[in-house]
Symmetry: C2
Subunit: 329 residues, 2 copies
């Protein structure tokens, strides 16, 4: 019978979990509130409890002998050798936690469940999910970019995760595309994240539109409340043909494309899968990104360039974490 | 007996060739004028003749049974599968040449010499040379940057060349570090090569110094002939404490460092070996580059950051090409 695994995606607000079958479907998924403020111990208990619950539900339909383990994607710096998670940005009080050991201790009591735990950071898990189940299935090599509050990434080479010598690879948000510019983010000048992370993008739109609100639908959409302006407003306005909103997407896409061009030049990666909340804008974003990527790339590297949307949405992390158990990622 | 190989480095002005022993020394080296204007056939004959000559000299001292083959680094786009060299920038009239087949045909007549030919581009061969025989010996993972008229690169991961899915990886000169800037190079805005390639660097120095020549030693060094200004003049002046020249190196190093920071963020590569003519400036260049690299990198990635000079000079290409025969690179 086909192998199956549990994939979990730990976030600051929700713990998502899924049961996935190798070469097949995701059977079911669940979401639990993280309640991060209750501290590490409570969250670790939640992880163990969620794993037990999903295992029980799945084991009645799937062969326990084919259970391959638990995969877990976590925010922050993950050390796969030590099994630790360090300084997750949205989990207060964590510092450095021996995440793998803590989870293994909690599932040890459950005889069927006791199993290997595959740990990785959430961006890598999401990239691997898209590689195995999503938009990356037809791309042996690609970079997944997650565009949201932060700009993260995961690299797939020859259908496997490229993690780098120290396990920190994929941080496309910290590539420098504007070394001489004025944007400072996390103390660094001109990073991609500092230019097109969600807050910066909204700021850019505010600057472009707020002075002449009469020229743009965006003012209406956010009812003149510029503090509430979101990428969603800019998407709606752009789809309605609003020139100012279109210009924002064009600029954001163009900056993204300049970053991607660096990835193509350096790593010879030519396919890009874009996920995260901001990617909902679809071609509004992908088209200018691809155009800039082509403009910024040597003609000898034009073949195969592609910028496409992720397919799994916020399920990429759980799917990828489960898939790590089948291949070892 | 230890394996040995012939390494050749084909350039627009010289063909360099060497005989190298595995785990050992380079026995001897020779240089031949390429005479590129005589066209592809003459250059291919030169390649075959040089290989024969070196083989004859070496075979009298080394065991012919331990001969591992010929490695060849070539300028331009090399297709290792097809064995072709396309559009080498400094070899007029080449278009696309079946370099491996042409060389193999020429050495086939020589019964001892008939052997596998390992082909790669010159930047990769140089990086591999530094990895096996030079500054990269203690670095399992590094990027070699060649700073000259162009800005090229070669990537070593786990002591092997990383060539990328299509074989074009390592082009750090075409990473975008100034997407909004005014520099256009090969039609692309804000590339590293377009900012700190030799001509651009000299241009930058001219702009900074020519208006106030009385403030800088550089005017004396180039006898007021700004057209003759070279990186060497800037190096001499900077070593003499000339503030303008120091400022040029600081700027060039800083831009280089911003590019390297992108490599660290994306690939988790933290060691950089700098070669090429401009790297003769040594710490004048490496120090500001490392400082900028640290400033532009997340603290979690600071461990192990290093910017060092290449050790083999213009012999890196022949050494690396020979070494490709031992390992398959």
């Amino acid at each position: 019978m086909s192998q199956w695994a549990i994939g979990m995606d730990l976030g600051g607000t929700a713990l998502k979990a899924a049961v996935a079958v190798r070469d097949g479907d995701v059977l079911f998924e669940e979401s639990f509130p993280t309640e991060a403020l209750r501290g590490p111990r409570a969250v670790l208990d939640l992880l163990g409890g969620a794993a037990s619950e999903l295992y029980r539900r799945a084991a009645s339909r799937l062969d326990p002998a084919s259970f391959s383990g638990i995969g877990l994607g976590a925010p922050g710096a993950v050390d796969r050798l030590k099994g630790t998670l360090s300084h997750p940005p949205n989990l207060p009080g964590w510092e450095v936690v021996e995440l793998r050991r803590e989870l293994q201790e909690r599932i040890a009591a459950d005889p069927g469940l006791s199993c290997p735990v595959q740990l990785d950071n959430d961006a890598n898990a999401a990239a691997y999910g898209e590689a195995v189940y999503g938009a990356g299935r037809s791309f042996p090599d690609f970079l997944m970019v997650t565009l949201g509050t932060g700009v993260g990434g995961g690299i797939i080479l020859d259908r496997r995760l490229y993690r780098g010598p120290n396990g920190t690879a994929g941080e496309i948000g910290f590539m420098i595309v504007d070394y001489a510019g004025s944007s400072l983010h996390a103390g660094i000048r001109g990073t991609l994240e500092g230019l097109i992370g969600k807050e910066r993008m909204v700021e850019m739109a505010r600057r472009m539109i707020a002075d002449h609100p009469e020229r743009s639908l965006v003012a209406d959409l956010c009812h003149g409340d510029w503090a509430s302006l979101s990428p969603r407003h800019l998407e709606t306005a752009a789809l309605d043909g609003d020139p100012a909103a279109l210009e924002v997407w064009s600029r954001v896409g163009s900056i993204l494309g300049a970053g991607l061009a660096g990835v193509t030049a350096l790593m010879d990666i030519r396919r890009f899968v874009i996920g995260g909340g901001i990617s909902a804008a679809g071609e509004l974003l992908f088209k200018p990104a691809l155009a800039q990527l082509r403009r910024s790339t040597l003609p000898s590297m034009h073949e195969g360039l592609a910028v496409v949307g992720a397919e799994l949405g916020n399920r990429a992390g759980t799917h990828g974490a489960a898939a790590l158990c089948f291949e070892g990622g």
